[in-house]
Amino acid sequence: MTLAELQKRTAAAIMAPLTASDEVAGTWRSEADALIKANSRLQPLERLEIYSRSYWFRVLDCLYDDFPGLSAALGRRAFNRLSRAYLTERPSQSFTLRNLGEGLEAWLRAHPQFAERHLELALDMVRLEWAHIEAYDGPARKPLGPEDLLELGPELRLSLQPHLTLLELKYPVDDLRIAVNQFVEEHDSASNAVAERDKHRTVRRYRRLKPQAIHLAVYRAEDSVWYRRLETDEYRLLDALRQGLPMGEAIEMMLRASAIAEQQLGGLVQEWYAGWARMGWLCAAGV
């Protein structure tokens, strides 16, 4: 047996889904016998199971750590079913566990049954939580300050920080994610029983979250991740800048669907640009 063949067979056995009681399915016994030696205390299947459990518990814990809001939105049992199905179909394809959830949004769109009646809420939360990961350690470029924007003109092209994500959402999932974060911080020192009881209450409350269209910027400032709600027009202008349009065309694009009065436009745009510059969102285009 070549090294490649042994590794393919062993990895397939380790990464195969565990049973409901978190054991390796008995159907893997003959494969374990073929690959792995027994010792005086453990059969090959039991030795394989040490690795299988370790694999599954690691990736499941990691996905939960990265998507606590999704878990709160769906409930822990539904989240667990979703996680196992996702990781079975789409195991990690990166050397770093940081990227474990990068395919979750696309996968969930293709498998809506795992979100049950909460698909739109779940998709919004997945997008927010992936944006959070990108904002945490994504690249940053030298920001342009207000002094760099003294001469705004229609030909001016600007870029947005790579760590900034713009989201158009159907649910106010930022509120839920912030509540989940606070819950975790407040219950770090509480007993498990108290924490579990409170968590169930929190989950029930947020699964009844009412739809509300919002626009959100997820970004990093001073090494922390921030969420900032945007006006619709502000979002559209930022989105046009992200597409690489010069300032004049970006404003035109925004205005096509906007009710802003012409006399308000100049002041509003100046105010937005000044705010974005203060938050370090803008950088030079074309780098």
Partner: protein
């Protein structure tokens, strides 16, 4: 002319009479370090403790920006850092991941790590990652594949590499040699160093019924760049390498034996789960100093 002589002894130039620092650790002797872990950040920045060196998990800092790199830069201002990787997978049959190597080289330039370590294991197949340290089949084919990848990584990264023996819970039928014979086969073919984890030797010796001292006595002492010690968890039928306890006496005995063979070597305590206070972890690590030979007094002209 008479020269007045003075004694100059410090952690960085402490040498043992038997085995000086070697090319596999960049001719350094770093003393006793601990792993840099998030729960200790506050203590480190507030109290600025004296620590011989910190080991970082490379993958935690192979990112483009944000808090991880900001913290690392603060640490690098005051401390020596050595990089330890967990996902190079020298033993996987597939080629090295170029994106991984590129990011690792960027980090090497940032930290100026004098040597770099990762595990003698596999963990990925066809671009799918287990994120585990899976045991090698001890075959000549595996030794050749692994050694070639170590050489490729070293040539690209331009830094000495040492491979770490892992704890294991399974052995393959196809193996053609013992684990220690395989380790020697790989490091000779790759001409690389060894990160000798004496806790892993202990754990595997219990799980596979071999004599850990036989393993230690077989290791090429001149290739040992660094030593790991750690705690583990004992279950009914096997031992798990959990890094969540103090080091037990049998592992310290193995460490003592290793030091007697290889001489004073950069040593690191791993404590990765249920992490106690910084002072407790540091105190546990410094128990290693009991077994290190007394520093040689270097005569320096005044």
């Amino acid at each position: 002319m008479r020269l007045t002589q003075r004694l100059c002894v410090s952690a960085s130039n402490r040498t043992s009479a038997g085995m000086p620092a070697n090319s596999f650790n960049g001719f350094t002797n770093y003393g006793v370090g601990i792993g840099l872990r998030i729960p200790h950040y506050h203590h480190i920045f507030q109290h600025q403790p004296v620590v011989d060196w910190f080991e970082i998990i490379s993958e935690n800092f192979m990112v483009d920006g944000g808090r991880p790199l900001a913290v690392l830069d603060q640490i690098l201002e005051r401390h020596r850092v050595v990089q330890h990787g967990v996902s190079m997978y020298f033993g996987s049959a597939e080629p090295l991941n170029r994106e991984h190597l590129r990011r690792l080289k960027t980090l090497v330039k940032r930290t100026k790590t004098p040597w770099l370590t990762d595990h003698l294991c596999w963990g990925s197949v066809d671009g799918r990652y287990t994120h585990d340290l899976l045991p090698m089949p001890y075959t000549f084919e595996a030794a050749e594949v692994t050694a070639r990848k170590v050489r490729e990584a070293r040539d690209f990264l331009e830094v000495p590499i040492a491979v770490e023996n892992v704890s294991s819970y399974a052995e393959f039928h196809v193996s053609e040699m013992t684990e220690w014979e395989f380790l020697n086969e790989v490091v000779e073919r790759a001409d690389c160093g060894i990160l000798l984890d004496v806790n892993n030797i202990y754990v595997s010796s219990q799980n596979h019924d071999f004599d850990p001292f036989e393993y230690l006595n077989a290791v090429a002492p001149e290739r040992v760049a660094q030593i790991h010690v750690a705690g583990h968890s004992k279950y009914e039928k096997y031992i798990l390498d959990t890094h969540d306890h103090p080091v037990i006496d049998p592992v310290w005995k193995l460490y003592e034996h290793a030091i007697a063979r290889v001489g004073a070597t950069a040593t690191l305590l791993e404590w990765d789960d249920r992490i106690p206070s910084f002072d407790e972890v540091h105190a546990e690590a410094r128990k290693a100093e009991r077994y290190l030979p007394a520093p040689v007094e270097t005569l320096v002209p005044a």
